[in-house]
């Protein structure tokens, strides 16, 4: 049986890769993809804890995380498509309309 620390370490590594992608990339779609990776790393942690305690709550919350990820993908991509259509911008440092 795989120890819990392995799941936690894997989740932490993936979360950090995703976080680095979010704050280092310019392309907005890449940022959304990195956020997906971060949400999945949390899923791995949930599933690892569910395995450790033989408790299904972790798996249920992983399902909710997937639902939230679907919402985030839909709304984020809608924003990106309208931004790309109206102002043809894909890089986040060019989107500074609200910046003072």
């Amino acid at each position: 049986m795989v120890p819990l620390t392995h799941y936690l370490a894997l989740g932490a590594i993936l979360f950090l890769i995703g976080a680095a992608g979010v704050i280092m990339r310019r392309n907005a779609i890449m940022i959304l993809l990195s956020i997906e990776l971060m949400l999945n790393s949390v899923n791995i942690t949930f599933v690892g804890f569910a395995r450790q305690w033989a408790d299904l709550t972790g798996q249920v919350f992983a399902i909710f995380v997937i639902a939230v990820a679907a919402c985030e993908a839909a709304v984020g991509l809608a924003i990106l498509i309208s931004l790309n259509r109206d102002r043809s911008m894909v890089n986040v440092d060019e989107i500074n309309l609200l910046k003072w």
């Binding site: 795989v2 992608g21 280092m24 990195s34 599933v47 033989a54 709550t57 991509l77 809608a78 498509i81």
Partner: protein, 169 residues
């Protein structure tokens, strides 16, 4: 044996994720993420979450990532490949990520987790993971389940309104 497969899947996930973060072409990045999700489904089977493994492939790799790929194809990615890919404050951001890594290391290294329990079912038998998960989801977590459905509806309406070309009143 289980540990060997865990390391195999973990190496696949980490490798595909690193590939995803560093690609210049967004389509390549999305496909690498699909690969990472497939490895993750294997990991979920290993952890006794068979239903989640199916959901991971059907909903994530099959639904959400296809949505991403279609949106990418609606945009003009040919130009974006030739642009600078990283922020100017990349070094600072990397330092922040490493700081976060140190924090996570400290918190996780404290340990003190309770001993492992065994599942009440065996893989491949009925009633198994799906039945148990459905029982918990529709009784104990019924209210969060309904809230999630309202959230999905709101996201759907929001996406339609945001992506619509113009709204006629």
């Amino acid at each position: 044996m289980e540990l060997v497969f865990f390391y195999l899947f973990a190496a696949g996930i980490v490798g595909a994720s690193l590939l995803m973060v560093t690609r210049a072409n967004v389509i390549h990045a999305a496909l690498s993420l699909v690969l990472a999700f497939l490895f993750m489904a294997g990991l979920f089977v290993l952890a006794g979450a068979e239903f989640l493994a199916g959901v991971q492939i059907l909903i994530y790799a099959g639904g959400i990532m296809v949505l991403y790929l279609f949106s990418i194809m609606l945009m003009n990615v040919g130009v974006a490949v030739r642009l600078r890919q990283w922020h100017r404050q990349s070094a600072l951001a990397l330092a922040a990520a490493l700081l976060l890594a140190a924090e996570v290391w400290v918190v996780l290294g404290r340990g003190g987790y309770p001993a492992a329990q065994a599942w009440s079912w065996r893989l491949g038998q009925t009633p198994g993971n799906v039945e148990a998960l459905g029982q918990v989801l529709y009784t104990k977590f019924l209210f969060p389940f309904e809230v999630a459905s309202v959230l999905l509806l709101a996201a759907m309406i929001g996406a339609i309104v945001l992506a619509k070309r113009q709204i006629t009143r």
